[in-house]
Symmetry: C2
Subunit: 256 residues, 2 copies
């Protein structure tokens, strides 16, 4: 990716030297834009308007333009954004120009799925090491990597300069694993265990909790149900019909 230089682009090869400090909400959306842009690039699009890209990413177009303006990215008025240039810019800002190494701890049900997931490799990351506490699992080879004992975690993380750790152990073990990751120099943690982690300043933790997502959905189910039940008790819920995609929808440019 990012082979050709766009017509109206500035001289400098890639981007701003110092990182602007983006609003957190913007940072959370950039990866979504990036994915949509890669899809567009694969489909041969060279430029894209904010309207189009916004629809593809599922956001408001004004929001998208403001997000992009934050990283100083130049679109061209009357034309749109250069797809390849924008990919470069976003990848640079997100720090994806270097492939980052990830340690995965806990190779159980979920850990196995993660270890075999190709979405790591295709989106800028490399699983560099696997760890587990279960002696039965240690030594097992998954996807070309041998599972190591969690006691080795801090040493290996330090030696291989691993900066990101993924925790897929039971909740009871998660805090101790996090401590070991931190001791090994890891400064970013993605936690799948349903518990709160305590880490020193300077270490970022993000959490993915399936049950929480479902419970949020459950709340909205509950509210929808009580709303259609109460107001006049006469109106039925609107009949659910598929086929809601317009032919000219930007989405069609995406999943082939």
């Amino acid at each position: 990716m990012s082979q050709h230089r766009p017509p109206g682009a500035p001289e400098r090869p890639v981007a701003v030297p110092a990182l602007p400090d983006l609003p957190e909400a913007t940072v959370a959306r950039l990866p979504e834009y990036l994915r949509a842009l890669h899809n567009l690039a694969e489909n041969g699009h060279e430029t894209v308007s904010s309207e189009w890209l916004a629809t593809a990413a599922g956001v408001n177009s004004a929001k998208l333009r403001k997000d992009l303006s934050h990283l100083g990215s130049y679109g061209t008025r009357g034309v749109g954004y250069d797809v390849a240039l924008l990919i470069d810019q976003i990848e640079y800002v997100l720090g994806l120009t270097q492939r980052r190494s990830v340690a995965l701890v806990g190779v159980g049900n979920l850990g196995h799925a993660l270890a075999g997931y190709d979405g790591f490799a295709t989106r800028g990351f490399r699983i560099a090491a696997l760890f587990d506490a279960d002696p039965v699992r240690v030594g097992e080879e998954i996807n070309g990597l041998v599972v190591q004992h969690v006691d080795e975690l801090s040493r290996v993380a330090t030696e291989e300069s691993i900066a990101i750790g993924v925790i897929a152990t039971p909740a009871a073990a998660a805090q101790r694993v996090a401590d070991r990751l931190v001791a090994g120099g890891v400064t970013s943690i993605l936690n799948f265990a349903p518990c709160v982690l305590t880490v020193p300043d300077g270490v970022d933790v993000r959490k993915v909790d399936l049950a929480i997502e479902l419970q949020i959905l459950s709340f909205h189910e509950h509210r929808k149900a009580s709303q259609t039940a109460l107001p006049a008790a006469g109106e039925a819920a609107l009949p659910p019909l598929p086929g809601n995609l317009a032919a000219t929808n930007p989405q069609e440019a995406i999943g082939t």
Copy 2:
């Protein structure tokens, strides 16, 4: 749980009849409080202060109190909140008093892990049906459920009144699966495929994207690196040391 009536509680057995419409940010935190409360209940706590619970859930205590005040929940000044009562209240508001049925579509790598996950059952949900398009997988039994063909999806979802669907198929298939879910009367979707779904009004979609989470972490890594590199080039990054838990930390009441 929730056996005894708390001292100062109102006469009515459980909760407000009409749902207050909570701020979305509050809704997203309630499940976290709920999890912490269940931990406290298991450890024999009968009441809990906002300070304690807030720490256990990893939030500011004022925020927690405001969240709880939104759902009209009564704590007792000078004492705190009754754990069992609060669990009931939150479970009621989240609609967890009835166990909700979930359809899981796509029984591949990730789908298998999800199908075997006990966090569904323990937190208010029941996997009611599994679906896949691969003829080899159809008929396979997982955890007591037989995988059905995705062509049956709409029919089964309607018949079994399934309101929540989980998509764990490749991105290319996700939109079509979503359409079928909606046709089957599903009004809440949890999407693990890295793509944007288009659904009619009234249908809620939440998305979990591993790569996005990692890319957000990558951004912060990048920023940390450029910050410690630039300012005076003299200060080393603070040495990472574990063991940062104070003995009196509320967390200790949790993971046993």
